[in-house]
Symmetry: C2
Subunit: 255 residues, 2 copies
């Protein structure tokens, strides 16, 4: 079947995936974007299911989501996704999130690498089906949000949480689940904070892989009004040596 460049998927804001303000949690929205990416790439011949037996996989490198509004519980909503560009080792994939009545709720951008699952080294994206991904690039479809930024942090960052990763943090690959990082970062802010603040933009860069049992340490620095940068390190339970695994930024606006 001939596939379009852009795919559109319907999701439901499940009631138990909504926060106390009755809106979808950002972590669950992130999960839906990752699902949309997975469905889109699978339907076009370069998805995880095709790659895994060939010892290759997609690795999420950066994700940014910027919302005007979050779906409420029981809302249907739509995620469009498409590939904006592809290079040998990285591809940019965008998302447009809309309500059932068609109005836009927000957008997302992501950067993915393809790696060899045995060597853990980057592998050539164009080697898959003779560069099939190039047939699906749409450079022009609008995604009016800023690209993931390089999250700059100074020496001001304060250690705010330490967390031992557990069974539910670990994904199919044995690594800490990308979505769990989003949840852990947003858990740094008190429940009451969300009563008066709307999470306008969230971005995260995945630097290295952590594994179940690793201890994550979260360092936070306020960089502007409502803007917080977070650095996450891992260490073994019995070792004080920390290695950076991710860097995120949350930008809130007052409700």
């Amino acid at each position: 079947m001939e596939q379009t460049k852009i795919a559109k998927y319907k999701f439901l804001a499940e009631p138990f995936h909504c926060d106390y303000s009755n809106h979808l949690f950002m972590g669950h929205l992130g999960n839906h974007l990752l699902n949309a990416a997975d469905f889109h790439s699978t339907e076009r011949g370069f998805g995880m299911n095709y790659l895994m037996p060939r010892h290759k996989t997609w690795v999420l490198s950066r994700l940014v989501i910027e919302m005007d509004e979050m779906p409420s519980s029981y809302d249907d909503f739509y995620v469009e996704t498409w590939v904006e560009s592809a290079m040998r080792y990285f591809t940019s994939r965008n998302y447009a999130i809309s309500a059932a009545d068609g109005h836009m709720l927000g957008y997302g951008r992501s950067v993915w690498a393809m790696i060899d699952t045995q060597s853990r080294q980057p592998t050539d994206i164009f080697s898959i089906h003779d560069g099939a991904i190039n047939n699906y690039i749409d450079k022009d479809y609008p995604c009016p949000i800023a690209s993931p930024s390089r999250v700059k942090m100074g020496d001001e960052a304060v250690k705010v949480m330490e967390l031992k990763t557990r069974y539910n943090d670990v994904d199919i690959n044995g690594h800490i689940n990308s979505v769990k990082y989003i949840e852990h970062v947003l858990d740094l802010f008190p429940v009451d904070w969300y009563k008066s603040h709307f999470l306008k933009r969230f971005e995260i860069a995945y630097v290295a892989e952590a594994h179940g049992g690793d201890v994550l340490t979260f360092y936070q620095e306020q960089t502007a009004d409502g803007a917080y940068c977070i650095r996450i390190t891992k260490r073994a339970d019995d070792d004080a040596t920390e290695t950076e695994v991710a860097r995120g930024k949350a930008v809130f606006i007052e409700k």
Copy 2:
């Protein structure tokens, strides 16, 4: 539209909802059962969406899930749900979980109360649409697993984890999400434990409500080979007084 007593819903074992063994997490399965219950009751006129404006809601009192097999990532699976019995203040709802090819994966049982959201007191289930729920009771559809048991714990229980609840733990009602308790209990067991053990049966009784910011303490006691009972208490962050909020039991078999 005339509704059947039993409803059947299709779900997908999403890849990011699977553990490192490539099988659906029990917490996510629990979430799907709660969704099925919600869809079934909504379609028959006694769901949350009908109750909420009338200051009533369903409260999950007990849940037990017993599995022969867990769906693998990308598997479609089905959840059938029906009301086995209804009394004035409690109703029993069952679940049958099957694979796409029709073979049974497992079953679930649950007990729900209906409460007044203002007084937080039990309210008469039969007051909704002149006892509409009675039109949908199926006593005979098979659910061949034991009912939720009274989890008996002695003085042997050992404190194994303390956890401050955070933003992502809190549901629409401002309480700790029922599914999060399941995840936190299963996180008591090391990641490696799940490499050699299959979670055969999980049950939980919800005793009292906890709120975001409460500190949960987990006490664990092994009661038989592979069987672990867990008592969860809550306390305010600045107060040592503990109140029991839930009691669970996990039964593992060796793989």
